[in-house]
Amino acid sequence: MTAFGPAAVAAAELPLAGDAAALAALARNSVVAGVERQVLHIRLGRLASGLQHEHHHRLLREALAPMLRPSRARLFALPNGDLVAAAPPGGGHLETVATMLGTLFAGAAHRAVALLRLPEQAAALMVTIEAAVAPVAPPPLPPCGAALTATDAAALERAVGTASLAAHLRCRPVMRIAPTCGAPELQWTEWRLALPTLCAALLPGLDLRAAPALARWLRGLLDRRLLAELARPEEVRRLGHAGLAVGLACLATPEFQRLDGALGQPGRARLVLGFAAEEVLADPEGFLAAREVCRARGYRLALELEDAATLALLPPERLGVDLVRLPWTPGLEARAMAAAVPPERLVLAAVDRAAGIAWGWEAGITLFEGPLLRG
């Protein structure tokens, strides 16, 4: 098992209660310990309203109990009315129940009943649980403080020179999670220095967005710092398949050239260089030059988006990028996305809830990254 295995179903922060929490724990333990379980999900919440009365649910539970007893199954009632039964594999009890329920619900059977296998489909089960326990939106960020000025940038430059940046280094796995089969697979690791938290720590209360070009400049400063560290021989050996979000400015720096030389051809082919949409728009000619050079050297390229609207402005096939990295938000439009970029080239980032994975699956996406998938 890799260090990333159980991370896919990390759900410690989910607002679970009672049975839902117990079921999440079961899913997690199944992944951690590799215990196989068969799971039957009965989506009562999706049944026609005529079948939604309390007595229907009670009758169903009573009918299920004797059928589940010989299989040592546990029954969980989720807050949205759905029922989930989990049992050790073999014996065919849950299949029997599923068939019986299928007959009962007739036309709606395919929507009402689902059989899942653990640990392979633990992520799908987590999606189910989360959807059942009404997600709680994170509180909006407090309004930002003073606008970033060149004086602040100079102070940050000095502070960055001597500060340890380890606390602000984000290193996140990008996982392939398919809806139907297999456990989450680590594809590569994204490395980046979190500029907002770093600035908040060094000079609190600054609004970076007030001076976008200065923020780009600061980012260039941090790029060089990160590249210099990654170019050390022991780090290069450990880097493996990785993604780096960098600015256009970094490519001509000695720090990048050192890393480039240390990586060699095979190492470069394992690295994805991500450029923000803002960098492309601020310097289209510079991006074309960067693309030319990155391709010649064998790097893969990614476009880093902050929102889906920019995707229409910078069509990935025109940019010639291999991947598009897009942060997930609950309001994202799946269909528009699928039209703009083939789903296999999309990485859904900032996935902090299982609902993001469910959303991604709907759009055909299988590459995910975010706090939910911790390394």
Binding site: A147, G161, E235, D283, R318
Partner: protein
């Protein structure tokens, strides 16, 4: 996990400085083994172009065993590669720049004398007329900078075959060259120069300069953030750089606020390179688009990008001659600006003055 071991404190690397001091020496050294090789010198360019050029030259140097040197004036020299490698680099440069990039090719050793003469001269930094400021005092320097030093007034003419020329807009633009000259070495960084442009745009938006009465509606740069004051005149157009399209600067609420303050929106920074990358249809439909002329606009990619776009939305800027006008007329574009337009305006004015003078004298 490497997380905690990776980033121990260290001194930041010094910013990339040109190798001006080492130029003549390096040129002499390179000449020793450079028989059959070439040197390619690129003319000075703005910081964005220079960054792209440096990157492509470094790539060529790495591939062809040469080196890249930079003069104090911002010229870049690719030294000691084969003629084929230099030709590849030139092709890549013109592809990215959307047109030929002016350069000089020296064959070695026969062109050693002009190369060395250039290297000796180029190593001396030019007399710096800029404000001597460091990053910490950049914003203060920008707040004090006399606007007249960096602003240029340009006419936007309505032109077309068989129609009487007319003034469409009177553009007040911040000259990147003049701003860079005013700020000195700091402005060699493209991001810092962009920041400076935005600060000047903010000053203009807070207090739009008055223009003479009766002139065409003004066109002014707009800052990326904040709400500008009321438009200074009916029909005033505010120009945002292309980078605004990525974020809040062109969000619907902000566009509504700009419109409520009387601004018509324009988006600048479009050129052949940008047309290779962006879908114009995704830019706000009400915005005027400033397209910078270069012969590369005749490329298929550029033509394709412009297909379906209402030519009334386009202003062709940087027009330097009849080729630009012909291309614009062919696309149905009606508004033009640039040196060739200024020349037209000046010629018309001196004609008018001569006529007036003749009338007074007669």
């Amino acid at each position: 996990m490497v997380v905690n071991a990776v980033l121990a404190p260290r001194t930041p690397a010094s910013p990339w400085h040109g190798a001006a001091g080492r130029l003549a020496l390096a040129a002499r050294q390179a000449l020793l083994g450079a028989a059959g090789r070439v040197a390619l010198r690129l003319a000075p360019a703005g910081p964005h172009r220079r960054r792209a050029v440096r990157l492509l030259l470094q790539e060529a140097a790495q591939a062809g065993g040469g080196r890249v040197l930079e003069s104090a004036a911002g010229e870049l020299l690719l030294l000691g590669v084969t003629a084929a490698e230099a030709a590849r680099a030139e092709a890549a440069l013109s592809h990215c720049a959307g047109g030929p990039v002016p350069g000089t090719l020296w064959h070695l050793p026969q062109d050693a004398a002009p190369l060395l003469a250039w290297a000796e001269a180029a190593a001396t930094p030019p007399a710096e007329a800029g404000v001597a400021c460091d990053l910490a005092s950049l914003d203060a320097a920008l707040a004090m900078l006399p606007l007249g030093q960096v602003l240029v007034r340009r006419e936007v003419l309505r032109l077309g075959p068989g129609r009487t020329p007319g003034f469409a807009l009177r553009r007040m633009a911040v000259s990147r060259t003049r701003l860079a000259a005013a700020l000195g070495p700091l402005s060699a960084d493209p991001d810092l120069l962009d920041h400076a442009m935005d600060r000047i745009a903010r000053r203009l938006a807070e207090a739009p300069p008055a223009d003479r009465a009766g002139a065409a509606p003004p066109m002014l740069p707009l800052p990326l953030r904040g709400d500008p004051a009321e438009a200074p005149a009916p029909g005033a157009t505010g120009v945002l750089p292309l980078v605004a399209a990525a974020g809040a600067a062109l969000s619907l609420p902000r566009r509504e606020r700009l419109a409520a303050a009387g601004w018509r929106l324009a988006i600048g920074g479009l050129d052949a390179a940008a047309l290779h990358l962006i879908a114009l249809g995704a830019l706000p439909g009400e915005a005027l688009l400033l397209l910078r002329w270069s012969p590369a606009l005749a490329d298929r990619a550029a033509q394709q990008a412009l297909r379906g776009l209402d030519p009334e939305r386009l202003v062709l800027t940087g027009c330097d001659g009849p080729e630009a006008f012909a291309w614009g007329f062919g696309r149905g574009i009606g508004c033009f600006a640039g040196p060739a337009v200024e020349a037209l305006v000046n010629a018309a004015r001196s004609d008018a003055a001569r006529v007036a003078g003749a009338e007074c004298g007669g």
